[in-house]
Amino acid sequence: MAEGIRIPVPAGADLMQPYPVKLPTFEGPLDLLLHLIRKNEVDLRNLPVADICRQYHEYIVLMVELDLEVAAEFLYVEAMLLHIKSQMVLPRASAVEGEPLEDPRDELVRRLLEYRKYKGVAESLHEMEAVRLGLWSRPPARVELTEGEAEETDLSEVSLFDLLTFFKGAVDRYRAQHPPSMEIAHQKFSIKEKMEQMLARVKAGEGPVPLSEIFRGLSGRGEAIAIFLAVLELLRLRVVRARQDGEFNEIYLDPTGESASLEGYEESYR
């Protein structure tokens, strides 16, 4: 968000009245400074720092009042201006006798001149582009000699980021086609484990175990199904037997005294 600091000028903004009507946007603090210099019709090389600094500050205040995010770059330049301003006030003496005084504005002026240079090139390019945008070239003829492969790119225009993007594209596609199994997302209940638990409980010697009790306090349907399957398995293996006194009465489980290997029951239920 640091780039493209746009400062729309509100209709009623009268902080520094005679704005050019079409004050567009500023590309950054240097752009704002150039604008102020132009507006004040001052010589860039003999910058009235105090004036410019004040106007610059008013702009920052305006931005804040308009709830615009004031990018750090603007504050940095303001600090720079204040620093120059303070140095201008101080009496200056040349370090070496006879050498010209170093102007505290030099660095800023150099930067502004340099920036203005590029800004000028940008404006020329802008005009050149406008003329060019109406031209249309022909889509290159497709001749079969390029092994029928569709779009071709000139290698000189492939950036390192393109290379990385191609690689990421291949990996993403691979991942989409080979999704990792979802098992971790779900709790799994091993039927074997439940069989062992049931058996231990039935064999604990506290008398027949009511089936309804076994299903109490379970985590969910998955666990209930695992337990149910485990009970059926134990019955099938005849290590446990079930008794029921009458229709709809409680079912009790107790051990038969037989034992069986539970190896091989790796089935799970989610």
């Binding site: 000699l145 790119t153 290698l155 291949a170």
Partner: protein, 202 residues
């Protein structure tokens, strides 16, 4: 009238593929009859002036094509131009070799989901990749790696200078995606990596 001819020429030129009279009329904002007349005039002009292109009338429309007698030269030029070009498929293979090297053709095919032999050939021809011995697995496939030319072309001193996902994120302002960082298992020993991938080969 002459303007219509020039306009039609511009339209057929930029279109590349055949355009119907209706669409030409619509785009030019003239009547179909005017389009028809302008096309005739253009056709005759190309003929009379011995131009390099001619009007080709196709079902319900027209297009410009280069004259047949220049086919050899045209093919030769397109062939020359094609020299610097890589298909999207080849660029993808190049990126995989760059980031996963040394890597075998079956590994590349596994990742891309398609056989990539012709792209590998193209890249070998262009000296962007080269072989790096064979892998000690069933079929002992060739291993591929990028060449010095590859580094020179991309202005890299070292393979370590290839951009990482973080670089892309920094430029594109995307929140760093940690999951993607693990796509680049460069830190693991290459043996380990290639072995585990080998299992997936069919």
């Amino acid at each position: 009238m002459t303007t219509h001819v020039a306009l039609l020429e511009a339209l057929l030129f930029a279109s590349g593929k055949p355009a119907t009279l209706e669409r030409l009329a619509e785009a030019a904002e003239i009547t179909k009859a005017e389009v028809e007349a302008a096309l005739d005039a253009l056709e005759k002009a190309c003929e009379a002036e011995g131009r390099g292109v001619r009007v080709d009338r196709v079902a319900g429309g027209a297009r410009l094509v280069s004259r047949n007698e220049f086919d050899v030269a045209v093919r030769s030029l397109l062939g020359l131009e094609g020299k610097n070009k890589l298909s999207i498929a080849s660029l993808e293979v190049l990126s995989i070799v760059a980031y996963r090297q040394p890597v075998t053709a079956p590994e590349i095919a596994e990742l891309r989901g398609v056989n990539s032999a012709s792209s590998l050939r193209t890249l070998l021809d262009k000296k962007l990749i080269t072989t790096a011995g064979r892998k000690e697995v069933v079929g002992t496939p060739f291993l591929y790696k990028t060449t010095k030319e590859f580094l020179v072309h991309f202005g890299l001193a070292d393979l370590k200078d290839l951009p990482r996902p973080e670089d892309l994120d920094a430029l594109y302002g995307v929140e760093a995606n940690t999951a993607q960082t693990e796509l680049f298992p460069e830190q693991n020993s290459p043996e380990e990596k290639t072995d585990s991938e080998e299992e997936k080969d069919s």
